[in-house]
Amino acid sequence: MNSKSIIETKTNYRWQCRRGMLELDLLLNNFVDKKVDSLDEKQIQSFDMLLSYPDQALLDLLLGNSVSSDSEISKLVSQIRSTPLS
């Protein structure tokens, strides 16, 4: 990505990561801050897909209450969960 599109993508993501629950705000924004620049196109598609999920489904995935049958989503969820919280 060029620098302009990275900034646009980040601000767009920052808004999509504004959710109804503090837990999601923390996990998702932490991931956007630290990792989103290094995602490849396939991972970005998975992240977009993940962000389209309802909050409760997202919470269940990110807290490990449920596991996605989509292996790409599943990998991304592990990545989000393993990004240390600041």
Binding site: E8, T11, N12, R14, W15, R18, R19, G20, M21, L22, E23, L24, D25, L26, L27, N29, P54, D55, Q56, L59, L62, L63, G64, N65, R81, L85
Partner: protein, 595 residues
């Protein structure tokens, strides 16, 4: 001005949580044109986070009736709640639950097929007797179930949604009527003037005022700031609920349901601390009582951990099966954020900012009311508020668990019903003068880089991130669980300085595409207004009542202070009486609040 888009609706609703969506559904089903403006996608509203449930005296598990529920709510409010509104809410509660069932909310069931009800803090049978079980829940995701059901029903009823639009300011004419709002599209920055015969504010609370909070980032008190800028005072803002069991250091909520299911708090000596503070109700005493108990234990050196800065919530004795079945969400929260399993180890907890009891003053029909000359509660024509942003006031000095979902549903519906009646008498749009629109458009540019410095502001440029961090720290340090005069005076001074510095905020990002920096500036401005109202009201109230706890005035003072605070930019502090007369039953006179 011709380039500004203008849209007309019977009703504009700002906010798409449970209160806004319950109201919009009622209005859309009455064949009115309804616009719902939400800064996030509606099902990402904070209602989704309400884990615990919703109170209604259904008597499915233990004997119950609405009058006991009313008593508990009045007592829980520390006698600051308005008893007419409380009676109305408690009587309407069973119907509100059945309506939700009809909309598709999957309430948890008992073996006999009836709706399961769990015990929550502050609930009693027979006016202060044995523990009651009054909270209806859809597992630990009641808010999510309610929000999604209401959203689906609104789609079916053809409510018009403006998703990811931010409402900046109300439009008000010279006679004080509210005629809609200026909003902008977060995606492309385009301004839209929404003209409405009636406007309902349902923007939720302001938990982001504090550094440690259970609230999502979106809870920035937008409707409260908007109301204050329109000259409407905020009521009882000194009453902010601190939930006793937030995860220490992080803020996330561990639902009261965990104590309802048998969890209890222990201090650094391994003692069940609540037995000393509330011999009867113990861990299920009212939230303010439990929060203060935890703070005292820590202050007196009986905290847990190396820094003795928290206490522990024990659940491990309940067994893995009960925890997994009844409290799966909190188990995973602990594993993810703390790396511990509550089925094996206790959870470190500390009081965390949770709920705004105060807000925009309304009557029980949801009409926004303000003092005019000798009348304490004169309705503002065309303006309504419901839910956490409103102060109706059913929660008074302290909200009971399970009463907030009830509040949004009962008063979202009540406001809509009043709007339906109001529109029968007020059929036509009032003409909005071009001046009102052009002023609003000009004001919407107040944080733009090229705009004129605000009067009183100097030339030093300030950033949103720095000011927000400072504000949250000041509120946490000076206006938290325990308060005293000296600390509050210093806090008022600091908040006023921050408000002055807010005038110098300019946004570098001038793009129109997803300009979230601009949204964050408006949000911070709203938080500043809330902070000012909160800390001024807290300094002035020289007593301890509900969540407002003054070290220097430890007792409740009904003679001087059984009254509602009102704070406005124009007039500072003012007061109005509590409505102590219910609709059909005897008043509950103030008594010492013992649990």
């Amino acid at each position: 001005m011709s380039s500004i888009e203008r849209r007309q609706f019977d009703t504009l609703i700002i906010g798409a949580g449970g209160g806004g969506l319950r109201a919009s559904l009622q209005l859309a089903e009455a064949d009115l044109s309804v616009a719902v403006v939400s800064k996030v996608f509606p099902t990402r509203s904070h209602t989704v986070a309400a884990q615990g449930g919703m109170n209604a005296a259904l008597a499915n598990v233990l004997p119950d009736n609405w009058h006991w529920h009313m008593f508990d709510t009045v007592k829980g409010s520390d006698y600051l709640g308005d008893q007419d509104a409380i009676e109305y809410m408690c009587r309407a509660a069973p119907k509100a639950v059945y309506e939700l069932e009809h909309f598709g909310v999957p309430f948890s069931r008992l073996d006999n097929g009836k709706i399961y009800q769990r015990a929550f803090g502050g609930q009693s049978q027979n006016f202060g007797g044995d523990q009651a079980a009054r909270t209806c829940a859809a597992a630990d995701r009641t808010g999510h179930a309610i929000l999604h059901s209401l959203y689906q029903q609104n789609i079916r009823a053809k409510t018009h949604f403006f998703d990811e639009y931010f409402a900046v300011d109300l439009l008000k004419d010279g006679e004080g009527r509210v005629l809609g709002a200026l909003v902008f599209n977060i995606h492309d920055g385009q301004i839209v003037i929404i003209e409405a015969k009636t406007t309902l504010i349902a923007t939720g609370g302001a938990g982001q005022l504090f550094k440690t909070t259970t609230n999502a980032l979106i809870n920035t008190g937008d409707g409260l700031g908007m109301a204050m800028r329109a000259g409407i005072p905020l009521q009882d803002m000194e009453f902010f609920q601190f939930h006793p069991t937030g995860i220490a250091g992080r803020g996330m909520l561990i639902t009261e349901g965990a104590r309802g299911e048998g969890g209890y708090l222990v201090n650094g000596d391994g003692e069940r601390l609540m037995e000393r503070y509330a011999p009867k109700a113990k861990d299920l005493a009212s939230r303010d009582v439990v929060s203060r108990a935890i703070s005292i234990e820590i202050k007196e050196g009986r905290g847990c951990g190396p820094k003795k800065d928290h206490v522990l919530l024990k659940l491990d004795h309940l067994g893995e099966d009960v925890i997994q079945k009844r409290l799966p969400g909190i188990r995973q929260t602990c594993i993810t954020f703390l790396g511990l399993d509550p089925a094996e180890s206790p959870i470190p907890v500390f009081p965390t900012a949770h709920y705004t009891m105060g807000g925009i003053p309304t009557n029980r029909y949801g009409q926004v009311v303000v003092p005019v000359k000798d009348t304490p509660e004169e309705p503002v024509a065309g303006l309504y508020a419901a839910g956490e942003c409103a102060c109706v006031s059913v929660h008074g000095g302290n909200r009971l668990g399970g009463n907030s979902l009830l509040d949004i549903l009962v008063f979202g519906r009540a406001a809509a019903n009043h709007i339906i009646e109001y529109l029968k008498e007020n059929k036509y749009h009032k003409v909005i003068d071009e001046d009102i629109v052009s002023n609003a458009v000009q004001r919407a540019k107040r944080f733009d880089l090229n705009s004129e410095p605000s009067p009183g502001g100097d030339e030093v440029k300030e950033t949103v991130a720095v000011l927000r961090k400072e504000l949250k720290q000041v509120m946490e340090d000076h206006c938290s669980v325990f308060r005293d005069k000296q600390f509050l005076i210093e806090g008022v001074d600091k908040v006023e300085q921050l408000c002055d510095r807010m005038k110098n905020v300019k946004i570098d990002d001038q793009s129109y595409t997803f300009n979230t920096a601009k949204v964050e500036a408006f949000e911070l401005e709203n938080l500043m207004a809330c902070a000012l109202a909160t800390i001024h009201s807290a300094l002035a109230r020289e007593e301890s009542r509900g969540a407002h706890s003054r070290i220097d005035f430890p007792d409740r003072d009904d003679k001087s202070w059984m009254r509602h605070s009102l704070y406005s930019f124009e007039n500072g502090l003012d007061y109005k009486p509590v409505r102590t007369k219910p609709l059909s039953v005897e008043s509950f006179p103030p008594k010492p609040r013992v649990y």
